[in-house]
Symmetry: C2
Subunit: 230 residues, 2 copies
């Protein structure tokens, strides 16, 4: 039986743009597990399987409900040990660092570039919730927060230096083949690509070439998903 | 027969302060290999075993000469596979990211705080070389480069967020036990500690607690080494 994934959607049901849901989507494909996705919107708190934390990703696998991309990755690795996501215990521990780097450097960098596009491309009934929750988090209006995004771009690209330098010397963060650490970082780029036409990367950036390799994985799973970016 | 390590020294022969040499020192201890260190100074290019790259660390293991901390770690892992430094191939690949993060974020952050102390604590005959090579690299005088270090401290501590967040949830970067990724990052802190009394971390920072655990490893190898820091 296929695993069900509750997956954040934009105004169109097939526009999937959560960086966290993309981690899970790629992990499921990596494990070659069958999946059926359910589009879910920010304000549909009551449509999630119970017990609910009001957020996605959530997966339902038979009678198991698992919340949170990190818990889902752990669950998949334990329940479906073939095609490892982490390597071994050291790889699992180091993947935590990659995740924390992504969540303290990459995602906070990306959000300024795409936050107005997110607001633009979700349903009207979700916009008020999105604006209020994000303006509370950022401590300012979405418009103010997103100001001068071109001027922020050099610092953002510079912040990717450790990723860039690594990808100059190996095809994937995880080495010759991709694994969960790649999917974590890729989620941030696929988030931007799905919801915004703002280009984060120089065309000749090794990070752009790596993103291209990730887009091609699993029969072009991420590349075929609706996106405003190239 | 013990492995010989050429190890950067300050004015005193037993003050060892290279971040790269500390990676190697910890890796050798991790593998429980016997080592004899040879103090080496910046201007002693002709005292290194040949073929020489004019830099340390260099190890001599029987008839093998290996340069560069990364090449040395690879050599040790291949020649002495017990007590792995990386875990497996995924761990090795992710360790590259940690190294690149250390070299693009942590070490460039630390150097401003300690560069004048390095200059102060090396031999007079090495000071001119150090000043000239570093001023060329930084594009300004050492004094200008090191200005207002207190004012730089909050941004430096903030740049450690991915490390801090990881160490809030696990004892070492590499998980329950330390491995080479820990030694890479630790090298930057032991560099500062050996040569400077400037305190990089808040006492209650989880990064400081982790540094303490690294200082205690291998019978207090790093803690017992001469240091101006606590």
């Amino acid at each position: 039986m296929a695993i069900t994934l509750y997956d954040l959607a934009g105004a169109e049901a097939d526009r999937r743009f959560s960086p966290f849901c993309w981690r899970t989507r790629m992990a499921l494909a990596h494990k070659r597990l069958e999946v059926e996705t359910v589009p879910w919107r920010f304000t549909e708190k009551d449509k999630l399987p119970s017990p609910s934390q009001g957020r996605v990703p959530v997966i339902v696998d038979g009678d198991r409900v698992v919340h949170d991309s990190t818990a889902i990755a752990e669950y998949l690795e334990t329940s479906y040990p073939d095609r490892p996501l982490f390597g071994n215990e050291t790889g699992r521990a180091l993947t935590q660092f990659i995740q924390n780097w992504t969540e303290t450097v990459v995602q906070p960098g990306v959000v300024r570039f795409v936050v107005l596009d997110i607001h633009r491309h979700i349903r009207p009934q979700d916009q008020a919730y999105f604006r209020q929750s994000r303006e509370e988090r950022f401590g300012t209006t979405l418009e103010k927060f997103a100001e001068n995004r071109e001027a922020q771009l050099p610092a953002f690209r510079e912040s990717l230096a450790p990723l860039r330098r690594t990808l100059e010397r190996q095809s994937f963060l995880s080495g010759a083949a991709p694994a969960y650490a790649d999917y974590i970082v890729f989620g941030a780029f696929q988030w931007a690509r799905a919801i915004s036409d703002f280009e984060l990367l120089d065309a000749d950036d090794p990070v752009a070439a790596w993103r291209g390799r990730l887009l091609d994985l699993f029969g072009g799973l991420a590349r075929k998903s609706p996106a405003y970016g190239g």
